[in-house]
Symmetry: C2
Amino acid sequence: MKNFFKVMDIETVLALAVSFQRQAVETVSLMAASGRVLAQDVYADLDIPGFSRSTMDGYALRGASTFGASEGNPAFLRLVGNVSMGEKPDLTVRPGEAVRIATGGMLPEGADAVVMIEHTEAIDTETIEVYKSAAPGQHVILRGEDMQRGDKLLQRGQPLRSPEVGLLAAVGQSRLDVFKQPRVGILSTGDEVVPVETVPGPAQIRDVNSTALASYVASAGGHPQAYGIVPDDYDVLLSTCRQALAANDMVLISGGSSVGTRDFTIDVLQALEASEILVHGVSIRPGKPTILARAGGKPVWGLPGHVTSAMVVFAVLVRPFLEHLAGRDPQFNRRVRVPARMTRNLPSVQGRVDYVRVRLVPTAEGWDAEPLLGKSGLIRTMAAADGLLCIDANTEGLDHGTMVQVELFG
Amino acid sequence: MKNFFKVMDIETVLALAVSFQRQAVETVSLMAASGRVLAQDVYADLDIPGFSRSTMDGYALRGASTFGASEGNPAFLRLVGNVSMGEKPDLTVRPGEAVRIATGGMLPEGADAVVMIEHTEAIDTETIEVYKSAAPGQHVILRGEDMQRGDKLLQRGQPLRSPEVGLLAAVGQSRLDVFKQPRVGILSTGDEVVPVETVPGPAQIRDVNSTALASYVASAGGHPQAYGIVPDDYDVLLSTCRQALAANDMVLISGGSSVGTRDFTIDVLQALEASEILVHGVSIRPGKPTILARAGGKPVWGLPGHVTSAMVVFAVLVRPFLEHLAGRDPQFNRRVRVPARMTRNLPSVQGRVDYVRVRLVPTAEGWDAEPLLGKSGLIRTMAAADGLLCIDANTEGLDHGTMVQVELFG
């Protein structure tokens, strides 16, 4: 075995991500920006709101005109007009006067508060009674209260969820710069692997990895491109790998869990142009035989053949690299960890980080974490899991009842 | 105000979802199935694995041939062959014999265990020493251990994440039946609303809702179609609404937060063909003026104009309807709630369900829930939130330090 490398710890592997170049930038319309990563900072182009506006249906007035008003002692105000939506009112509210206003309407000059329609009664077309005292500022959003022109709202490297898309609409960003989505080439290797639509013969298995990895890549914001199944043949693997590398920003070679295929993979990675093996073995379980190379400046991964191991390595190692290429700033990488209680003892080996798939079971207080055990080749447990539990290298195992943090699947 | 309806509680509104018809079914390729909802049950077409296979690189043998073996007292075995990947071995392992096998290789007849290569040494080309006793079944996945032919694996109404896509690949489902994704027409109303690319004049605001709602619809698995801004004009609103209804499976009318616009919306909804107002007011804050109609068998929503209110109503009410149309079985609707500790007191009114946006702040024990307060027209707080906190109708408020459950944004 040509293993010249020391098994590397997870942090050392992850620290390599920044040595790869981020994606180029493109301009997209706001309607297409959901899920993309900003490649520019965004500032407010205006004060928002651009005018002091009512948050209720009612009457705009000077708060002082209502001081002391109550059910038993209403204030009488003179109705001097009406605010039309979308138009700047051309009147001024004086002491003892009121103007009809709807939610979102612009506060007329002189007014500093709004009284809800429910706390008033119209006496005639020119007079209203007000039953409640209104403090200045009541039911009003002041100009610039939400944001002020020039405020920095979003920053380069920030992923865009729906709320950010709304914020971009508010400041008129109908087109914006985002990072291009990384294209990821996926190769499956192994003489025993057959296409999904084939009925496997004796000793053969279907290509689960290409399909599952493509789905994971897409849900992590990449564009997967499958290159099918490559037999255990040096020349074919090398030429397919070159082809995938030329057309993509990252390449995943899955399979190669047997010694023979692993040797092929490492030989091919070394034979690629401008290539350097960065990682050959990681102190993680499952996933120890993971390989990472830099070829032509792009990351090329050799992933374990067992699909459940490949999935863990994708979640823990590959995804952060993909997110780096995609321009995402690590400060936005916070995955949500859910506190949960272990439903059984779980042994672990010191000096190695173990990842265990768990199901979250709701309880009266929160969640139970139920480890899904089983050999790493088992596919069925994969679909039952809600997330991953990490047992760090310094822990010998977890006891029944211990509180743990479960990292949800992306 | 033409409010003939009693304000309805959230559960009563949600129970109406099943009265709408699910989407039709279409067949897609597995590569396009991520994020879709299954419209068929899925069974294993084969035993998986289809043969007993090794999970390690090493030697296949009869466990009994190694009983009592140790470093000091190794077992000597005769090497009688080699298992090729993807091929059925044509030899039989007898007592005292071993066969070279790689991870994933098919166990030859007679063998019942695998010993790892690390626990052996080759003496010559025909003999190996084994230093560890192997129990029958060791490092072997038995035929059918993962799943057996005919096992029900996934069911109609189940959303497909990446692990399920992998499972479908394993059982040869290269094409499958899924529910069509609902098309959702989105209208913005209000004389004060101008397009995003416009600089708003005095008393005007940009159309934040259309863009934000389109993004929420897409992330909930729907196809948004924006119909732009409709002025406060009965005829225009009615004709645009008819147009949107004809081309979509659900319609969202946003805006209408002022009394005048609300009246327009309810009049238009009543004027639509085969129309029935189901809900006019919900005991939820924010979101009380929400309207739901059935028109031509399809749900049509009147949402609040404040963007942050519209977002809460979308998350709590509209999204479950959208997921119902999309074919999703409610058993898969489990949103992850994260237990967190309140960072301050939060008052609430009995008899009404309050939804408060919160930011999750990591602590040593788990998470703090920091309520993002502010008037409901403020857009900026929206982008800072991680999820929603529900204060139910029977609670008067939450005290600082109380443990709460935060529902994460979708």
